[in-house]
């Protein structure tokens, strides 16, 4: 049975030990002393403790302070930090109870707390903080810069006997390889890796002999290590001029031929023999398969990416699951997700066995070219493996990033299936259009517009009466007081409202009869105001 209470000074040693065991970087507990105990903001009445049989098994810290939320606006805040539960007591709701212990309306009111913030692993945020405490992700413009000062740790690890033995066991083909690769990057010292008939040697010396010189940025090198199709990614990186490779033809050929082996080898070297987290720090994005729960972020990403477009069904997690995940020709492994180093989804794609890319979407505020290339690279790889004949993708015409990526991957623009639209109820459609233009039309007078429609089908009223003016569009009831009378036909009015025909075009083609004629400019102005401006886009998933 767990007991939950507030921190007391006697708990310091036990909490220090618990924190040290949970976060190994807490420098033997000194860091906890500095961060909490000696912090002028430390308040024991907002540190929660969980104990079982008198032994502390969990703790949660809050630090009170001031937080700037905008230029000239600071509010009182709480920073949630260092939540720790002993391994044997996890998944029993201890963290949940700790977080809720002092989270009361009265406490926030008494202290005047307005904002509560936290820096958390995105997976934990998704699983615990967001559902329990309602946290949402903050839009940040913070950038992280990175430089490797020395390859010492990598060189030491590679030179270790057991490391060499492991490599030999794992890659028997190394016995036949004689290759020296010299890496030249701006954000790290030079690195030479020599593979000589089964032995691997790393050094910071500049290679002067017969070697392959690879020049580029660290992020591209590491993306090569992570990609599923290294040969293609290598060619793309060369074409994009992100890396340059020099060397004799025979050595270049040997490198290309052994690309997969070298990739696997470097992956081990980089992950095991470099400072902790190097791979994550330098590689901006990685790709993985869909995981349950991703649909919430995916639906948000889709709606955000196409927020300026019309013509598609907005996504809810349920709709997306049905539309993509449950589609009969989609395998789970064909739903690919690009995540950044905080596991936040930056793009995704869904492809069917037939080769239709049902959806491909990326965060337009991120490095779109990299995300789209990563997705297309992996999609092509998947489709080639399953023996699909072709690939089809829909994208907005203005999306230069997807357009460029498609060109790079050898796609060609092809006629798109045509979308057609028809109005079922003008009486409700016209006010909707006016609503979307609210505040964009300046007028000093109200007009009562009477539209008589010719050739109307049976489900459409042949008379539309509305008041258009300073308050937008409203239904009117008295046709006797109409100030503008218009006669047109059903198709012309539909084309005008959807922006397929301009009001002037309709007038010059004698599709509009206006009474009195001096109200023509006013009518043209009203029609232009009502006309839909948004461009429409539909992904293949909406079509099929």
């Amino acid at each position: 049975m767990y007991k939950y209470r507030l921190f007391s000074s006697n708990d310091s040693d036990a909490v220090r030990r618990l924190i040290k065991a949970t976060f190994p970087n807490f420098l033997e507990g000194e860091y906890w002393d500095w961060k909490h105990l000696h912090n002028p903001r430390f308040d024991p009445s907002i540190v929660a403790i969980a104990e079982e049989n008198g032994k502390i098994v969990g703790c949660s810290h809050w630090l009170q302070g001031s937080f700037k939320i905008a230029k000239g606006a600071a509010v009182k805040s709480l920073l949630t930090c260092d939540l720790a539960v002993r391994p044997g007591h996890r998944n029993r709701g201890v963290a949940r109870r700790l977080l809720l212990l002092r989270r009361t309306r009265e406490m926030f009111k008494q202290r005047g707390i307005v904002v509560n913030y936290d820096f958390a692993d995105p997976r934990l945020a998704k699983k615990l903080y967001s559902p329990l405490l309602g946290y949402t992700k903050v839009r940040l413009s913070t950038k992280k810069y990175f430089k490797i000062i020395s390859w010492k740790s990598l060189i030491n690890s590679v030179s270790r006997k057991e490391f060499q033995q492991n490599l030999k066991r794992k890659f028997p083909k190394l016995e036949k390889l004689d290759l020296t690769i010299f890496f030249k990057t701006r954000s790290a010292p030079p690195l030479t890796i020599s593979l000589s008939y089964g032995t691997v040697k790393a050094s910071e010396e500049v290679c002067g002999g017969d070697c392959i010189t690879v020049e580029g940025d660290l992020r591209t090198f590491l993306s090569l290590v992570q990609t599923q199709n290294v040969r293609r990614r290598l060619l793309v990186a060369i074409l994009e001029r992100k890396i340059k490779i020099k060397g004799s033809f025979s050595k270049l050929f040997e490198t290309y031929r052994n690309a997969s082996l070298l990739q696997a080898l470097f992956k081990i070297i980089v992950t095991r023999a470099t400072p902790v987290g190097l791979l994550e720090e330098a590689g901006q994005f990685s790709i993985r398969g869909y995981e349950d729960g991703d649909e919430i972020e995916i639906a948000q990403l889709f709606n955000k990416a196409y927020m300026n477009y019309g013509g598609f069904a907005p996504r809810t997690p349920e709709y997306w699951r049905w539309c993509c995940l449950e589609r009969p020709d989609v395998e789970r492994k064909a739903v690919l997700v690009v995540v950044d180093r905080h596991e936040s989804i930056a793009g995704y794609a869904v492809v069917g066995k037939s080769g239709s890319i049902w959806e491909l979407c990326y965060d337009h505020e991120r490095e779109g070219e990299e995300i789209v290339s990563l997705l297309l690279d992996n999609l092509v790889d998947y489709l080639e493996k399953i023996g699909a004949t072709s690939i089809v993708l829909n994208a907005p015409g203005e999306d230069s990033i997807v357009n460029r990526a498609c060109e790079k991957f050898g796609f060609e623009a092809y006629p798109t299936p045509k979308m057609f639209v028809s109005v079922l109820d003008f009486g409700r459609f016209i006010p909707l259009l006016a609503e979307s233009k609210k505040g964009k039309w300046a007028t000093d007078s109200d007009e009562t517009l009477l539209v008589k429609l010719k050739n109307t089908p049976f489900w459409i009223n042949d008379t539309i009466l509305m008041k258009v003016g300073r308050n937008g569009v409203q239904a009117a009831s008295d046709s006797q007081h109409a100030t503008i009378k218009v006669e047109t036909d059903f198709i012309t009015l539909t084309s005008l409202l959807f922006g397929i025909m301009s009001p002037v075009q309709a007038l010059t083609h004698l599709k509009l009869e206006v009474e009195p004629f001096w109200k023509i400019p006013k009518l043209l102005s009203i029609l232009s105001y009502l006309q839909m401006e948004a461009k429409w886009f539909f992904p293949l998933s909406d079509f099929g």
Binding site: Y306, G311, S390, P396, E412, M419, F420, R428, F429, W536
Partner: protein, 281 residues
């Protein structure tokens, strides 16, 4: 359940009933080849969170379902900030022997007398269609106009497997057809296709048969450089000469070869048309 009767031809129009689902599924499957043996119908309609059985219209004759029209209610974004209740008009199918009797048109009109209109459940309807069919049927009957779409489709051919299957069938047809055999008797032509969005392909047209090669591409007699879309236009018999000239003049098609081989290629365009007559992707 709503019903309507076309007395002159004894067609009954009504909404879908529980017992009709299998019949409708079979009808849709036989009309659209991509319906994956009914799996696709189940997913698209039965498992769809928005599916409403009363929005599927069927045409019946002597107790047998001969046509259907599906409507799917959806929310549709019409501008950056506005969403509207909409209907996606999907999968309209009529049995081949009953086509040309106006059943498609009656189904379209029948759906518009449904509760979607009377109960004001939707503001607009939309659909995806072949532009010619839209012009002849959907626009005059249901008032559809082309939507202001900026969508671009991109396509890439990964291999020529479908074409290879087609060539196998065609070779058998040639062997069984004297007229075709005679036409091919003196033919000796190798044609290299270079399309930016497809792997290179060599067609050998000799010895009364067609061979497809994706690896040995040397010494073609005629080289054709174009794109997939232009190729689709060229395979159409109607207006082929005009389309061919237009593609050559606009630079969308480039043909290289000796004058004699080019003449031979032109003479045997019927064979190219046969090869590309089915779907290649």
């Amino acid at each position: 359940m709503m019903t309507g009767m076309d007395e002159s031809k004894d067609f009954l129009y009504r909404t879908l009933g529980d017992k009709d689902q299998e019949d409708v599924k079979r009808l849709v499957e036989s009309t659209f080849e991509d319906f994956l043996n009914g799996k696709y119908w189940d997913w698209k309609y039965k498992l769809n969170p928005n599916f409403d059985q009363s929005l599927v219209g069927v045409a019946e004759k002597d107790g047998r379902i001969i046509g259907c029209n599906h409507w799917l209610p959806r929310t549709l974004k019409i501008s950056g900030s506005i969403e509207a209740k909409a209907i996606l008009g999907a999968d309209i199918a009529v049995r081949p022997e009953y086509r040309g009797h106006g059943i498609g048109k009656e189904l379209l009109l029948f759906m518009r007398s449904s509760q979607v209109i009377t109960k004001k459940l939707a503001v607009i309807s939309y659909m995806f269609s072949d532009p010619n069919l839209s012009k002849s049927l959907y626009e005059p009957v249901a008032g559809y106009v082309s939507a202001p779409s900026t969508t671009v489709s991109y396509v890439k051919l990964l291999n020529w497997n479908e074409l290879k299957k087609r060539v196998n069938v065609l070779n058998q047809e040639i062997q069984a057809n004297k007229e075709k055999l005679e036409k091919m008797a003196k033919l000796d032509l190798t044609l290299l296709l270079e399309l930016p969005s497809a792997p290179r392909l060599l067609l050998r047209l000799n010895n009364n048969r067609i061979e497809v090669d994706e690896t040995h591409l040397k010494n073609p007699k005629v080289t054709l450089r174009s794109d997939l879309y232009t190729l689709t236009i060229l395979k159409k018999r109607k207006g082929r000469i005009r389309n061919l000239l237009k593609a050559l003049l606009t630079g969308k098609l480039k043909i290289r070869g000796s004058l004699m081989d080019l003449f031979r290629f032109y003479q045997n365009l019927w064979l190219i048309e046969e090869i590309f007559s089915k779907k290649i992707s």
